[in-house]
Symmetry: C2
Subunit: 231 residues, 2 copies
DNA sequence: CGGTCGATTTGCGCCATAACAAAAAATCTC
DNA sequence: GAGATTTTTTGTTATGGCGCAAATCGACCG
């Protein structure tokens, strides 16, 4: 198999503090994987045999309850590791990862995990940092869902998306991957209908401009006010 | 300082797979800390300079929003690590840990963290597992808060407490540390009043017996049914 | 360009649950 | 054990946002 160039990953948060030979050791066991838009990289409940790093594109990670309700756990962006079931001592993938745009990832067999962690303490520390960041994020969401009502939760979710994937344009900040009202609803624990109403209200106030599966934030500062003091 | 006996920690999940000299290395930098009931081990926002392992007792970890609303993040039991801000690359403690009964912990200076992780890959893997378990737990709570209504969320919370800290008695399963309706409310994102009503209804059905700051689960199976099928 | 299908918007009625308000009960203190 | 304090229970009222349903809009396709 052709060796992947280490410059592809050297700058990523997961690999900071690692030398060239360490990076080569990491890459030696990886293979690339193309994920066309709409395809699933892995499915909830599947036996977890590999872990991943996203190089390019965007994935949506979802979880489904036994009763069939779905929630969006997070969006994966370039440089993020995902499907690290090994790290969390799980035999199966706890969620489903779907490409929302054409994407490209690196894949390692789970068998490589323990060795890599043991040989590269920096990788261990970085991975913990990533898990910790996700934990913080989850707990923040719990905090919001416990104490705030729908409009604020939606505002926070949009602001988080802006930070993760916002692209400045001359009209405002564009979230540059397809995301539906349904997605926002599943991120905030509300319904499609409520999100739609909230967005309509925001459009009237000039805070956002909605397109189909697109969000254009005209006034992020206004959203901040919405999340701080209440209307 | 007197060396702590390694048998105290050898069997704990955080230290499985570590040999005697590794355990001694870990313990060499630790000191014991008593936390009387009601005292805070650390406070939200404080500079994080140490990390901890609970040997005996029970702590409640809470987080407060800028607006002053509080939520209960989790309960820490014997054998659990807590306050591992280092692991998650945080400078400060993101929450407050309060002893709900007289407790005893081990304390390490943060400066010991990187070295310990680097020297003991097993500790790294175990810690990741712990973080992963908490992440799973958080995401499960998000799932529940998104899709289920108050009664089910409370039922789940009680069942989780039963698993963590339930003690069998001849009348049922007793959660053997002080926990108020307010606590349950803060764990489930509802109000004191709603929790009280729910508990009253359960008492009428014979599912639980409530005492002040105590919960006695008479029929866990009944609660399971409550969380599965509705009604 | 017309047809089809998915996404979004909007109206309406209803219900779970929050908010407010007190009383009652349990526990602690001296 | 009397009083004070905290916790819990319970009643009443108000409302956010969910469920249902139907209309509209926009995009993609042949």
């Amino acid at each position: 198999m052709a060796q992947i160039d280490r410059s592809l990953i050297a700058a990523l948060p997961s690999f900071v503090g690692m030398g060239p030979e360490a990076l080569d050791d990491v890459l030696a066991q990886a293979r690339p994987l193309r994920a066309p838009k709409g395809s699933a990289v892995f499915n909830q409940g599947q036996n977890a045999e590999e872990f991943f790093l996203l190089l390019h594109g965007r994935l949506r990670v979802t979880r489904i309850t036994p009763q069939g309700e779905q929630v969006v756990v997070r969006f994966v962006g370039p440089g993020d590791m995902f499907g690290v079931a090994m790290a969390i001592k799980s035999e199966i993938y706890p969620g489903t990862a779907t490409a929302v745009v054409d994407s490209l990832a690196l894949v390692w067999p789970n068998s490589a995990w323990t060795g890599l962690i043991s040989r590269h303490p920096a990788l261990a520390l970085n991975t913990m940092g990533t898990l910790g960041a996700r934990l913080q994020d989850s707990q923040t969401r719990i905090l919001e869902m416990s104490t705030q009502q729908a409009e604020k939760r939606v505002a926070h979710a949009v602001l988080r998306l802006v930070n993760q994937a916002g692209r400045k344009t001359d009209e405002g900040i564009l979230i540059d991957f397809p995301i539906s009202r349904q997605d926002i609803a599943e991120m905030t624990g509300t319904t499609l209908h409520t999100v739609s109403r909230i967005f309509s209200a925001w459009e009237e106030k000039g805070l956002v401009k909605g397109g189909r599966r697109r969000i254009l934030v005209c006034d992020p500062h206004g959203l901040f006010m919405l999340t701080e003091k209440a209307d």
